[in-house]
């Protein structure tokens, strides 16, 4: 295929991936990797590198807006970034030694998990219980609800931290933001309100991805010719998605995308098991 045609195809595909990733809350990375590997037969290492670059773009772009609104808990994010960046380096190192088949299978499993997570009910939960460690680390915060600040407490700091090491490792290994795992740590374990969890998770994704991107760069995973249409397309798609999201939040659409993503995931697992990737 010529460079021009391939670039156009990837640009359109990446736009769709960014759009779907934004509408479902899955993120562009988990959609672009199966698209590149299954449909265009791109080597998974190149796909992971390009995806990771697009993850930094979408995370930084949307974090810019959330941070200004004051929803993001920056101290909590900074503290947990110690965990995610350490995990990310570990993941990027392991990626070199893990055979391609296992990467594909793991990717499929994480994809199915993320799809299931995207369908779950979102309940805003305010924790009243106080944790000594969270207080010492100044992690408790407040966020605006209907223009009024609502205070919340953070719990289970240790458990959340460990979960974040794992989330970072998955991010560094698979070239995705692993936002679903970060939200599990914050919303599920640390009992942070859902809105704060998602925006703070998004805030952390950029730094986490940067930590493994510097390793990928030296290893040759980040090919500029491939990354260029991927990052432009995913970012534009995510931007479109964020504009649509304000207007409609269709439940049927979410189920439809979750099914599509699960089919992609099963194909990744199948290709991994049969060794045809």
């Amino acid at each position: 295929m010529t460079v021009l045609i391939l670039t156009l195809i990837i640009l359109i595909g990446a736009y769709a991936a960014g759009l779907v990733g934004s509408l479902t809350g899955l993120g562009g990375g988990v959609v672009i990797i199966p698209l590149l590997t299954l449909l265009l037969h791109v080597d998974i290492h190149y796909a992971i590198g390009a995806s990771l670059v697009s993850v930094i773009a979408t995370s930084s772009g949307s974090a810019a807006a959330y941070v200004k609104e004051g929803i993001t808990n920056m101290r909590l994010g900074m503290f947990l970034e110690i965990a995610t960046t350490s995990g990310a380096i570990t993941g990027a190192i392991v990626a070199k030694y893990l055979p391609v088949q296992y990467i594909a299978i793991l990717f499929g499993v994480v994809l199915i998990f993320s799809a299931a997570m995207s369908l779950r009910k979102k309940v805003e939960y305010i924790e009243e219980k106080k944790s000594v460690l969270a207080e010492k680390l100044k992690l408790n915060g407040s966020y605006p609800v209907n223009d009024k600040p609502v205070a919340y407490n953070v719990n289970n700091v240790g458990g959340g931290f460990l979960m974040m090491v794992f989330a970072g490792a998955i991010s560094g290994l698979l070239g995705i933001g692993s936002g679903a795992l970060k939200v599990v740590a914050m919303d599920g374990l640390m009992r942070v309100p859902f809105k704060v969890s998602t925006t703070t998770s998004n805030f952390m994704i950029g730094v986490t991805a940067a930590a493994s991107a510097v390793v990928y760069l030296q290893r040759g995973y980040i090919d500029p010719g491939l990354s260029m249409p991927v990052v432009i397309g995913v970012l534009l798609g995510a931007f479109t998605g964020s504009k649509i999201l304000v207007h409609s939040q269709s439940k049927k659409l979410r189920y439809f995308f979750a099914v599509v993503v699960t089919i992609l995931a099963i194909q990744m697992i199948y290709k991994g098991v049969s060794g045809t990737l």
Partner: protein, 124 residues
Amino acid sequence: MKQDRDIQLFIGSLLRWGVLLSMAVVIFGGIVYLYRHGHSIIDYTTFKGQPAMTTNLSAIINGIFTFRGRSIIQLGILLLIATPIARVLSSAIGFIAEKDYLYTGIALTVLAIIAVSMLGGFGG
């Protein structure tokens, strides 16, 4: 905390301009690349690493001066990777200004981890 609010606004702008600038560079490099190589045949099905002119900083700079599209794209990608790192650095400075030494330490730890990742020779 008013100072916290100032840091938030500054970080918000930093992230926005970092993404916009790096995207502008990537798009410009992409146009140069397509103009020069649009009709070449490309194959990503087997892993061969990146082109030599994009793997290290001196090669990238050299490539920019010889107007190579892929070197310019790679510069844009480097700027993009630098954006969240610059965010951590500026929050470290913000925490120093607030005399919040605990969080200055935390921000510096994150920077140290990234430095290890960058210079640790894990690329090999």
